[in-house]
Amino acid sequence: MSVAVPASTASLTMVQAINQALDQALARDDRVVLFGEDVGHMGGVFRASDSLQRKHGEKRVFDTPLAESGIVGFAVGLALAGLRPVAEIQFAGFLYPALDQVLSHVGRYRHRTRGRYSVPLVVRAPYGGGVHTPEQHADSPEALLTHTPGIKVVIPSSPERAKGLLLAAIDDPDPVFFLEAIKLYRSERQEVPSDRYVHELGRARVVRTGDAVSLICYGGMVEVCMAAARVAAREGVELEVIDVETLVPFDEDTVLDSVRRTGRAVVVHEAARTGGFGAEIAARVAEKAFFELAAPVMRVAGWDAPYPPFTAVEHHYRPNARRVLAAVREALLS
């Protein structure tokens, strides 16, 4: 009789899990190169690439000039030449100078060469608020990316998921934008398998089952929705929580399956409401599950205003459990 050997794990924060994923990707595939502002010698402003230059050398892990469009364009060139570039944009709010590259080239290369070329690059960027960052360091620009055909968008919600999803993103034959919630970088530790593993892209996860309302969220909002669900459970209301995880390609089936069971959906993200990815989710639910809905689809999102750097009121922008529960109440009363 064989005895299963328990796989070794370590208690890691999300940023440590990301560092481990990058380390393993560099070790496994010599096509992988890692670069960005302060990524090399210093190991990144959040230390996601800590010690990786020392370990893998300056040819594999290096600093770039302060030039976001240049970083993404440079990554396109490396990818066209057959490498697997992993670029870091220091904050997602600094991605904007690179949007021409993202919209005009990253998302189009395979298409405008009829599959002759592809750009299997990964752009990692910390996003979102909740940690009192300075102005323009807390943006959530995922809808700018999801509206761009030809790029995949992944937003992990935990250390264990971040590692497996990032390794899958680096393996992916198409460009992947990998947004990491700053709030989650060090907020919790989790047992993370030490060996290399991948989580398939394009699969949403039911992280909590319930029958009253489906909360549909991703990234930093998953813990907010889980907190809301714990409060509701004390009143005997069981909320289901869906972690979308991969926004593109979107796993519609998992979301619709949940909503058809609960009959109610609340979509939660911290990006501004209008034109946010929540609108896409709500529209799909309305298109495909309208007659199974017992209440209108609700959205809890950032306000239609720039993310506020004002410490005293910042917490009023980012959705919290109280606002999620208010929407749940409204959905239940309909």
Partner: protein
């Protein structure tokens, strides 16, 4: 004082000094210039016949594009803009693919497998950083490859121009930036594009050599490109070549330059165009016979006719082509769209 562009061959075909390249190199490059001129003239006619879509002619810029591109070999990358059909053809783009591209047929996007040529880029200057990445990959692999990227006087105003040149200089990437200063960015003259007059002067600000050559002098362009490519291959980093030329044609076949420039002046510039001076030089050197002329004309006609035939025989795409090749594997939404369109 404004420095004069480097020139070996005057507009009337006078050579200053000895011919600095081999006779055979001159004749081979001349044949390439003739080939792309023939293509350009026919492309404009095909467009007028409704057999091409909007076309961006390059008349007058043949020497700038051919003279630079002939310095490359098969391992080297070329990053052209839509004005650089001549450079792309010289680097190996099949004539029929070029026709299909300008016919807005998806088969014009399908390059031969081993051709190190990027698709024509449309957002100005945005592909310069791709060339830096391609070149840097060559550095990492130590494969001796070089990337050559094209931009114009208008493109030199873009932010990506700065980011690409700066990155290339920092990484000492094997890139050759070719700026074709053709005097016009659609309707805006160079004088309203920049405060200085020599784009090559900016190179020293980035820490790389910059040269201004007479872009209508094939020999001057060839020598500058040869030197820049050799530098890049030797690991000495990037260079900038400013080829001063003139856009004799409209911006595209949809453009009417009479609205913004005096076409009488364009005729004056036409006296400086590159081919006439090469014709004179070759005659003077006795490198081109009537027999050579006859056989080249026949060859060019034959080649173009065959390419048009291939293009005409290429089946039109079905609507489902719209959603193909977005990702390696279609998403559920794309599969559903594909079935709807099919």
């Amino acid at each position: 004082m404004l420095s004069e562009p480097i020139r070996y061959l005057s507009p009337d075909g006078e050579l200053s000094g000895e011919l600095p390249i081999l006779d055979s190199e001159l004749v081979a490059a001349y044949r390439s210039v003739r080939r792309v001129r023939h293509f350009d003239e026919r492309a404009v006619i095909l467009q007028r016949q409704g057999r091409l879509g909007v076309y961006a002619p390059f008349r007058g810029q043949e020497a700038a594009q051919v003279g630079t591109t002939v310095a490359l070999d098969e391992r080297d990358w070329l990053a052209p803009s839509y004005r650089e059909t001549a450079a792309a053809l010289t680097h190996g783009l099949p004539l029929s693919t070029a026709i299909l591209y300008w016919r807005a047929h998806p088969a014009g996007w399908e390059y031969p497998a081993d051709l190190r040529l990027l698709p024509f880029y449309v957002p100005i200057a945005s592909q310069l950083t791709h060339a830096v990445g391609l070149a840097h990959a060559g550095t990492l692999r130590e494969d001796g490859s070089v990337a050559m990227a094209f931009v114009g006087d208008g493109g030199s105003s873009e932010g990506d121009f700065h980011e690409a040149l700066n990155m290339a200089a920092v990484y000492r990437s094997p890139v050759v930036f070719v700026v074709q200063n053709n005097g016009w960015a659609i309707s805006v003259p160079t004088s309203r594009q920049m405060g200085n007059q020599r784009i090559a002067e900016r190179a020293s600000g980035y820490g790389m050599p910059g040269t201004t050559v007479d872009g209508n002098d094939l020999i001057a362009v060839m020598l500058a490109a040869r030197e820049a490519v050799a530098r890049a291959r030797a690991g000495e980093g990037p260079s900038l070549i400013e080829a001063v030329t003139y856009r004799l044609a409209p911006h595209t076949t949809s453009d009417d330059p009479g609205r913004y420039r005096d076409e009488a002046q364009t005729l004056e510039h036409a006296a400086n165009e590159p081919l006439k001076r090469l014709d004179a030089l070759l005659a003077k050197l006795g490198l081109w016979s009537e027999g050579d002329e006859d056989s080249l004309r026949q060859e060019l006609e034959r080649e173009l006719a065959a390419a048009v035939k291939v293009a005409d025989a290429t089946p039109l795409p079905g609507p489902e082509a719209i959603v193909e090749h977005v990702f390696e594997t279609m998403t559920a939404d794309q599969r559903s769209a594909w079935r709807t369109l099919k």
